[in-house]
Amino acid sequence: MKVSVQREDFDLSAEVKALAGGSRSIGAVASFVGVVREVAMTLEHYPGMTESAIRKIVEDAAARWQVMDCTVIHRTGELKAGEQIVLVAVASAHRGDAFAACEFVMDYLKTRAPFWKKEHRPEGARWVEARASDDDAAQRWQGAAKKAV
């Protein structure tokens, strides 16, 4: 598992290649990249807790699906519109587990990992408010059975 909270950008294709090459039994890598929409923002986090919260989320995913390896990269600091913010990539033997685990990690990252976005709009800077739909997205996994693959 690779978890990195960093200011620098990341290279999706290099990260996916590194995951896919990790084991001969890996047959699928599902990845998600989040991108800054419309306005520049600053991302703050809680150093120490952030990394352990992400690791716990990945461990929860691995308890539900076959997760052979996983990379999570989340950027912090100043980010401009169009820049990459977050990468979640999950390697598994088959696509069903990889897709489901990737979505699960993203949904929980949005509600459990201590990051906060501050948008820089022309009328001034403001902290982004959490959305109930993000809680709902994470909530729907509660009690959800392992998907058939």
Partner: protein
């Protein structure tokens, strides 16, 4: 009993401080009680920790419920609901 308080994001800005060491008054033994104690300081604290303010908490870098118990030396963080990803 002493604990270390940390504040993040909008809450940190509202209070104008990153955190502090605090000696807890007797009877303050849970996150909920600590929140009420901070609210009772008045001013920015009263607003930031009012009942309707959305505040989350972590003890020693683990997200906890308001009923979680405090012990000496804990790192207690308060922050708004998270908005990463």
């Amino acid at each position: 009993m002493k604990v270390k308080l940390l504040f993040f994001a909008g809450l940190r800005e509202q209070l104008g401080t990153l955190g502090e060491e605090i000696e807890l008054p007797g009877g303050v033994s849970t996150v909920a009680a600590l929140r009420l104690h901070l609210e009772s300081r008045g001013g920015a604290y009263e607003k930031a920790f009012s009942e309707k303010a959305l505040v989350r908490a972590a003890i020693n870098q683990d997200m906890v419920q308001p009923t979680a118990r405090l012990k000496a030396g804990d790192e207690v963080a308060f922050f708004p609901p998270v908005t990463g990803g």
